[in-house]
């Protein structure tokens, strides 16, 4: 495109989250997406810069072309015009385990500096204070996708030095039964394909350095890198922050509200 991009003057935090996530999709990617914002992101990407991206939902739909936004990955809407309406054996083994998946869009309750994510419990698992939903397919998809993008809420208690329970594997992991911490590449060996590539929150976009440590890549308009650092429990590296996150364009906002979620399901 040669025309100058016109940026939206007004937008909500959640709009930027969806747009920033959509920009992680490379045209042609085979994307495995979870419920909620990941759905907005993949559908927006398909309508804008990545028309050839393909979406797999873990409940069984492969390359669906929904005309109405699904509200869960098992939704009949996911399977509309799909190339296959299969099941979990196909999605987890026939697609993921055999190595087709380029990009995963996932969520999480807590994350640590190596990208380990917790969606299981608060406190000691053997005597937890609180239970979340549990793993679902999050750790499986994140295990073998080439790139994973986590979409999360930025809060000090959610960005932790160590998560209470490693539900989903980051860049440095315990090797059981000893529990010795090793790089993901070493643990996964010949199955290794990649790992967490970005974390997108309501305050910024984070990436991982050569050692698998999280750093701030861009800060969303209206926030400073220092504010983001204050909302992390670990010592976040903000020295590599390259500036502000590109805001949503008028066209992207229009697509989000008129094509992706016109009913106001995830975008209030």
């Amino acid at each position: 495109m040669t025309a100058q991009k016109e940026y939206a003057k007004e937008y909500k935090g959640i709009d930027l989250l969806a747009v920033a996530a959509a920009r992680e999709v490379i045209d042609g990617d085979i994307v495995f997406a979870g419920t909620g914002l990941p759905m907005l992101a993949i559908m927006l990407a398909q309508l804008s810069d990545a028309p050839n991206a393909v979406c797999i939902y873990e409940a069984g739909s492969i390359d669906g072309r929904p005309i109405d936004l699904p509200t869960s990955v098992g939704d009949s809407r996911c399977a509309y015009q799909a190339s296959m309406a299969a099941g979990l054996t196909e999605t987890f083994y026939g697609q993921l385990h055999c190595g087709y998946v380029d990009l995963a869009f996932l969520g999480g309750a807590e994350i640590d500096q190596y990208g380990n994510v917790n969606t299981t419990v608060v406190g000691d698992y053997a005597a937890p204070q609180k239970r979340f939903t549990g793993s679902g397919g999050n750790p499986d998809i994140n295990s073998l996708a080439k790139r994973t993008v986590f979409i999360m809420v930025q809060e000090k208690r959610r960005f932790k030095e160590n998560v209470d329970y490693i539900t989903s594997p980051g860049w440095r992991l315990p090797k059981w039964p000893s529990g010795e911490i090793v790089p993901k590449k070493e643990l996964y060996g010949k199955y290794y394909k990649g790992g967490p590539s970005a974390v997108i929150t309501n305050m910024g976009v984070f990436r991982f350095d050569e050692d698998g440590l999280m750093y701030l890549d861009t800060v969303h308009p209206g926030f400073t890198p220092e504010q983001v650092k204050e909302n992390c429990s670990f010592d976040l590296n903000i020295s590599r922050c390259k500036g502000e996150t590109e805001p949503p364009s008028v066209h992207e906002i229009e697509l989000l509200y008129t094509k992706v979620d016109p009913e106001g399901i995830f975008l209030p």
């Binding site: 419920t35 069984g60 399977a79 309406a85 099941g87 937890p128 939903t133 539900t167 399901i265």
Partner: protein, 325 residues
Amino acid sequence: MGKPQKISLKEAANLIQDGDFISFSGFTIWRRPMALIYEMVRQGKKDLHLFEVNGGTHTEVLAGAGAIKMWESCWVGHELYGKLGEGVARGQVEGTILVEDYSHGQMVARLLAGAFGLPFFPTALSMGTDILNPKFDMLGKAGLRDGSNPKIPLKKYDAIKDPMYDMGEILLMPAANPDWALIYASQVGDEGTVRVFSQTYVDPEVIKAADKVIVLAEEIVPDSYLRQEPEKNIATGYAIDYVVECPYGAHPTGSQFFYDVDADFIRQFYTASKSKEAYDKWAEEWIFGVSSHEEYLEKLGVDRLTKLKANSVVGYSTTVKRGTR
């Protein structure tokens, strides 16, 4: 072997014994055998051992009723309509439900082994997670891996070095063979052939893995009709033991091409599921306050069921209000 026996919902629930090991059809809030779940609660089933790739509204109805003793799974909630599985969470925190977590892919591996008659199934999914932390083998810690219960494996999992292509370490997940598969299916033939519309989830694997299978059929149709397109069927009649004809049997969960998820109903249930008192009040109204599935449907009313009715071309309701606009 042979044709499945046609029975009533009450008879079906009556077959299930306290302490039985059970799995289900469906995925989170889709195609769950809800009418049978309600009847099991009415009949006061308890100490159930659940094995499910993921939980949903049906799990929470059982959890609220105090019917679950063990839960081997990886996820429970109501998707957009209730973000947590409050009953299971309360049971895990208070210690009344013994929870053993795996991942989706690992649970599928366990079902595949069970379905294929193998002792285990290999997987490289979710290595390096706390799911595999030996400290968190909860059934083991409870002393249940001593072989006395034939449905509980001696190990939560194992890992071996690949002896074939030198691919390194890989996990082995133990087979699961539940006593019962409780299935809701779109169509069942009069000889027991089973068809589901759209995504199959793990329904075919659950049917094959279980010792006995009860299917709630939205419709019973001539087997000859299903045999015109055999590639669309997921199970053959001799794999099914009992069939119950039960229109709207998955409500409030959804059934592709028949009806959508009843979001308002699930939201209200989710709110009630947050405390024992509120759950009991809800159950008094929706489970114990009606004597049969027919009375439950009558209480829901024609207006509600009409709004949920799926459009026959796209497969879901195009009239139900889903968002804020």
